[in-house]
Symmetry: C2
Subunit: 403 residues, 2 copies
Amino acid sequence: MGLVVQKFGGSSVADAKKVMNVAERVTDEYKKGNNVVVVVSAQGDTTDELIEKANEINPNHSKREMDMLLSTGEQISISLLAMAIEKLGFPVISLTGWQVGMKTDSNYSQARIRKIDTERICMELDKKNIVVVAGFQGINKYDDITTLGRGGSDTTAVALAAALHADICEIYTDVDGVYTTDPRIVKDAVKLSEISYDEMLELASLGANVLHNRSVEMAKKYNVNLEVKSSFQRVPGTVVKEEVDMEKMLVRGVARDNDVARIAVIGLKDEPGTAFKIFSLLSKSKINVDIILQSIGRENTKDISFTVTEGNLNKALEILEQNKDLIGYKDISSSTNLSKVSIVGAGMVNNPGVASKMFEALFESSINIHMISTSELKVSVLVDRDVAERAVKAIHDKFDFTN
Amino acid sequence: MGLVVQKFGGSSVADAKKVMNVAERVTDEYKKGNNVVVVVSAQGDTTDELIEKANEINPNHSKREMDMLLSTGEQISISLLAMAIEKLGFPVISLTGWQVGMKTDSNYSQARIRKIDTERICMELDKKNIVVVAGFQGINKYDDITTLGRGGSDTTAVALAAALHADICEIYTDVDGVYTTDPRIVKDAVKLSEISYDEMLELASLGANVLHNRSVEMAKKYNVNLEVKSSFQRVPGTVVKEEVDMEKMLVRGVARDNDVARIAVIGLKDEPGTAFKIFSLLSKSKINVDIILQSIGRENTKDISFTVTEGNLNKALEILEQNKDLIGYKDISSSTNLSKVSIVGAGMVNNPGVASKMFEALFESSINIHMISTSELKVSVLVDRDVAERAVKAIHDKFDFTN
């Protein structure tokens, strides 16, 4: 007998029929003799509807009141799922974030989990109750409701799995696992049966959209075995864990991220501290920078190019313009309509041929590369957005992804 | 500087515009230099929509999960109202039932308040925050969410006013006060400036629908001054308090209640214990009986007639039929399509002429009376529903209600 934590997203509980489907998945696990903790998100569009309600009244609402409002979405889901499980005749109890002892800091709308007081949840599991927990929410030291921000429900599930020493944490989503690339783009994308935390982290941040990085980081930290599975199809998913057979496949997948804009700062003095000045200014404004590239410019100057998300582009440009004298540069240019295409794989670092194989694939398809960035686990290139799908296909074809 | 508790019902916060209107009412009070605690109900149809969602999944849901679900309605309202008050530039904080220390028993869906831990709310008032509290909800000793049942938000407001020793508890509703009868039926109904707790209790239970009895009982117990006011018009309302000038007006009002069905148990043995048997059986099934009338029947038998709410009629008949041998009667009959019309007034007990004046009004309008019930504060008659409005008008015309 083990302990299984399951997490179902908003689209998995969007209506009464889907809630019943989840109840069946949950009770099937319980029938095997396992203890089951289920984490759910708000139903379908509930969160968007609540945001709209708030903005209609006051678009400049405090984050504290917004968290008070948004946390109702998950509370609705847990009670409805509990009712569905009651209908199937199983013992069940729903618990909100504060009832489950999910203690966070006071950073409303993007709170971090501090600790979980598992007393209540353990008591309910001892009573053989299926425990349905509201994802995405917690309370701070003032007993005020907080929400965990993007990927919050996944994080709730992984944090509970860690605190309860669960045997596995199953993340149910629209897709049935992690693929070598987006199956909507490349027909013969292959589902991975296993992937390491680090590879998953690179894939997630590169736009694979299956698991949020934060939950994978936490799973890695506490060594929680994750499985990404389909809410609707009953097929094996992808297990994310510490060690996978690294020899088996060099490249795990090909990812694409469209949310990328490039800024070039041109004509910087070639002296120490220029990069520091630029990136400390951006970091103070909480702008994350992804790929950074520095090149030698003309007449004792250098150029620095880097990418940010499209949402941060204007703010970043503004900061750079306001600090033109401090930084000391000649010109700034920016471009959008770009995509980042990446290959990810733990075995890559010891196989220098991997990167050149990727460049070869792009060359054969006449695709121009704007920037290149490499790490131990990935190679990323920046290309025009209108050729990005073609780039993904070409790279995917070049590597052998048969499992 | 005083402390004012205000309560706004679901129709007062039904949409963004109405929420802003409430925010203005609240901040006007705050601008006078008062501490303000505001209790709100769920928006408009929210509660009905949540009930529908639940029933779609499982009509036989547990009450515990239903309370978990329904309590989100008020939580949505408090956060939206807080945002509206923020927009007007005033310091505000919203608090749920559990945050405000509303401790109840574990009788889900109709919990009773046990005590209020006012620490948090006092702290917020000390900080000069306007405190917006979710009505209708609390928590039990297991830290599970409970709801207070019908009239719950009024009860929350009065309980808070009592615990915080508020100067006044203002109940804002669709109507602008307590009238001598339903102004939709009788055009020249008069608004009362004052009414005693006891009179209000009789009027509420007789179908005046302005304040729920439970909140008036609590106001009486803790001597909380209530004022019933309009959410939309800025006019004085009706103050409900301990002592009013009893000499001023004998009859306070005329009320009508359509939710009434009559059961007649015919041919009971004329021996002790028959009434006890009937009413203890009904009370065990939590069926409230209103008017009871016993009359002599034929051949050493007696008949007992009584009224119940229409919703309890079938259940009551079933219980009586199942226990026919135990009770010992010949026949049962029942009738619906009835109304109870009542006059209420504290001065009534010392003025026997009041009842006969009421009967005279009905006689002059050729309205037949099926049952009569009197108490120190009221005279009620049962009439056919299709003449009930006419009865109210005739009685109201007979008495002089000019303030």
